[in-house]
């Protein structure tokens, strides 16, 4: 408690804002990670930390351009231009874990943002005011899954005075070649315009350099995709090798680490770690009794809830939908169409049936006993289709819990209420298991 108070005080006093901009602090942090040791089964944790420290340092103190993006914009776009993709929505999640989201949310409200706006976006506005975000050189948004985020970042781009680019995704029931061309064209054009903005003195002769850079980013993306497919296969093992509580915290890496060497190194390490755990029969939780699929994000303000599910109830969150790889490894020679296809085919985009079909597939592949969807306040794309999902799961005899809450704002949810719902849901699973046994 004392430590948490000290961290909060440091974050809100401006000391952390100064530290984030200190070359020495970043050097010490990276040295610490380089000197740290960890078992091969946890090597991915060090890779993830090294990744975060490297890019945080680069965002705040280096001269490399910083591109703010919405969470579902492919990070390859930025890495291929030697820029750092920074997703302010992820920073809001980090702020929630650090316990400062209430301060940031209040600050956003005092700037005129309605409390009806998603708390991720209000929080990031507050963090910007507290100087806890790096200044962007450009902002790229997409309407993939979230309209609120795109509007907020568009607004902030205008306030900060940097160019804003937008990738518009058509919401079709089927995906035509014309739609793929439309999105691929926007990606190519945005990349060209961003390149011209970030490197105005680039000569025509440098064209080859950037094309190679793009190809390298796509090769990294292809390698990362292959590792991720293997990781997801390893998570199908029983007992499962990775705790959902941790996997849900690493979703940020799934979004941010595609298209760069350091990201690929993380996925490679994670694959090796999970393979080692499977080979040595090291379960993620002792006495795994139930397996769950978790939909959407986790509440970042309440670490105990997932521990309660996994450790007290022995219910492993075997898989979470946002880690699902719905695309084939991209073709480095067709970067724009590969990325366009990935965006358009996202299971949470387009008709609700697409997501329902994915959930049913995950239940089968991960041999899940039940499904929990965390309905984050403000995320309409998942909460809006809860009833359809409930009907489909009921038809298949799968218990389903919709847990209403807030990923970022601890004041909007009650831990006790969540616990009651989770306990009741687990009692349903317990009854179902007993009935099957008898």
């Amino acid at each position: 408690m004392l430590a948490a108070n000290l961290i909060q005080k440091a974050l809100t006093s401006g000391k952390v804002a100064k530290l984030l901009r200190s070359k020495t602090a970043h050097a010490v942090g990276r040295l610490g990670v380089a000197l740290s040791t960890c078992s091969p089964q946890n090597a991915y944790q060090r890779e993830a930390l090294a990744f975060v420290l490297k890019w945080t340092a680069a965002s705040f103190v280096s001269k490399r351009p910083v591109v703010w993006t919405t969470a579902f914009l492919p990070s390859e776009l930025s890495y291929s231009l030697n820029a750092i993709p920074f997703m302010p929505e992820l920073a809001a999640g980090v702020a929630a874990v650090a316990g400062i989201s209430p301060v940031a949310l209040t600050a956003a409200q005092s700037q005129g943002y309605s409390s009806d706006l998603c708390s991720f976006h209000r929080c990031l506005v507050g963090l910007l005011g507290m100087e806890l975000l790096p200044r962007p050189d450009a902002v790229i948004t997409t309407n993939l899954m979230c309209d609120g985020g795109y509007r907020v970042l568009e607004n902030l781009a205008a306030e900060i005075g940097v160019p804003h680019y937008h990738i518009d995704l058509p919401l079709g029931t089927t995906i035509s070649a014309a739609e793929e061309d439309y999105v691929a064209g926007q990606l190519r054009e945005t990349w060209e315009r961003l390149k011209a903005q970030l490197y105005p003195s680039t000569l025509q002769t440098d064209k080859r350099f950037w094309e190679l850079s793009l190809k390298r980013a796509m090769q990294e993306s292809a390698a990362a995709t292959s590792y991720r497919l293997r990781i997801n296969n390893l998570r199908k093992q029983k007992p499962g090798p990775w705790r959902g509580a941790e996997a849900l915290s690493y979703v940020a890496m799934d979004l941010l680490a595609m298209g760069c060497q350091e990201g690929t190194a993380y996925f490679k390490a994670l694959e090796s770690s999970l393979a080692a755990r499977v080979a040595s029969a090291t379960p993620a939780i002792p006495d795994e009794t139930y397996r769950l699929i978790w939909l959407h994000l986790r509440p970042y303000t309440d670490a105990q809830l997932l521990n309660h599910i996994e450790l007290n109830w022995k219910a492993l969150i075997a898989f979470n939908d946002y880690s699902y790889v719905h695309w084939a490894p991209p073709e480095p020679d067709k970067p724009w169409h590969s990325l366009a296809s990935r965006m358009l085919r996202h299971p949470s985009w387009g008709p609700a049936e697409r997501r329902v079909a994915l959930v049913l597939k995950l239940i089968k592949e991960y041999d899940a006993d039940g499904v929990i969807q965390f309905d984050h306040w403000g995320c309409r794309q998942s909460t809006g289709m809860g009833s359809l999902l409930r009907q489909a799961l009921r038809k298949n005899g799968i218990p389903f819990l919709e847990l209403d809450g807030d990923c970022v704002d601890p004041r909007s949810a009650s831990a006790g209420q969540h616990r009651s719902r989770v306990d009741a849901f687990m009692e349903v699973l317990e009854d179902a298991k007993t009935a099957r046994r008898n």
Partner: protein
């Protein structure tokens, strides 16, 4: 051999305790029944209230705690109860309790002091699906208490009002806004009975909205303290278009379920 079990439902407003007796335990002939019951206000001390409720039922039967085969605990204060053999959520307990009070029930609507639960059950009284109110206390016992206060009445007076007759429109289900609507209606001279019926409809609308998230199946049973306010089950019936049964001892369904489940 006759066995005795106790159940404690540590609710937000009232703590209920029952002792049940069971002939032929563990056999199909088993017919558990409530031997005695007690209800005490929870106040600020759920643990103390639970102890008091349990002491009352024990003394009503002339029993000592050691003579009980098991004790089950439920309700929002369940985690803090000591000396219980099994802790179970109120959702499971209400479903199971109702199964024994009214076996035909497939949907249970429980409205307590601060919670509304709509539970779908199977023929064994097991929960298949459920929804609960979130954050907002609209439609709960606390909501009705605030409204009764705004009308200068108490809940017992509210409980005697029938739904038949003209009802004032109450557009908001939010406790704060609904209270200000009630005050405005009083100020405009709207008859109290019409306002009360409007409140009953407002509660029923909220429950109907929650129930729509599940697939409601007959028979429908209502439990919890609010089931004693007869206008509420009547209003729910009209909104759902289904008969709503209020079993005898509906307020004790959770404690009964806890006692029954403590046997396992």
């Amino acid at each position: 051999m006759l066995k005795l079990h106790a159940g404690i439902d540590a609710g937000s407003v009232a703590t209920k305790a029952v002792i049940i007796e069971e002939d032929f335990p563990g056999t199909p002939e088993s017919r558990p029944r409530i031997l005695t019951k007690a209800l005490v206000p929870t106040g600020a001390d759920p643990v103390g209230a639970a102890e008091k409720a349990l002491s009352q039922v024990l003394s009503q039967c002339g029993l000592r705690r050691e003579q009980l085969a098991s004790i089950g605990g439920t309700g929002y204060g369940r985690i803090r109860l000591s000396g219980v053999d099994r802790v179970i959520t109120e959702i499971t307990c209400h479903a199971y309790g109702v199964h024994w009070l009214f076996p035909a029930a497939r949907t249970v609507i429980d409205v307590g002091g601060q919670d509304i639960k709509v539970i779908r059950t199977n023929e064994l009284g097991q929960v298949e699906d459920f929804v609960m109110n979130d954050k907002c206390a609209a439609g709960t016992g606390r909501f009705l208490e605030v409204m009764a206060n705004a009308l200068g009445m108490d809940l017992e007076q509210l409980a005697r009002v029938d739904l038949d007759g003209k009802a004032a429109p109450i557009s908001s289900t939010c406790t704060v806004f609904a209270e200000s609507e009630v005050i405005s209606l009083v100020a405009s001279g709207t008859p109290t009975l019409e306002i009360i019926r409007g409140l009953f409809n407002s509660v029923a609308e909220r429950i109907q909205g929650m129930a729509a998230r599940l697939i409601i199946e007959p028979e429908v049973a209502m439990t919890g303290g609010v089931s004693a306010i007869r206008g509420i089950p009547q209003a729910i019936e009209r909104h759902l278009g289904l008969q709503v049964h209020v079993p005898e001892l509906a307020q004790f369904a959770g404690a009964f379920g806890a006692a029954l489940l403590s046997r396992k």
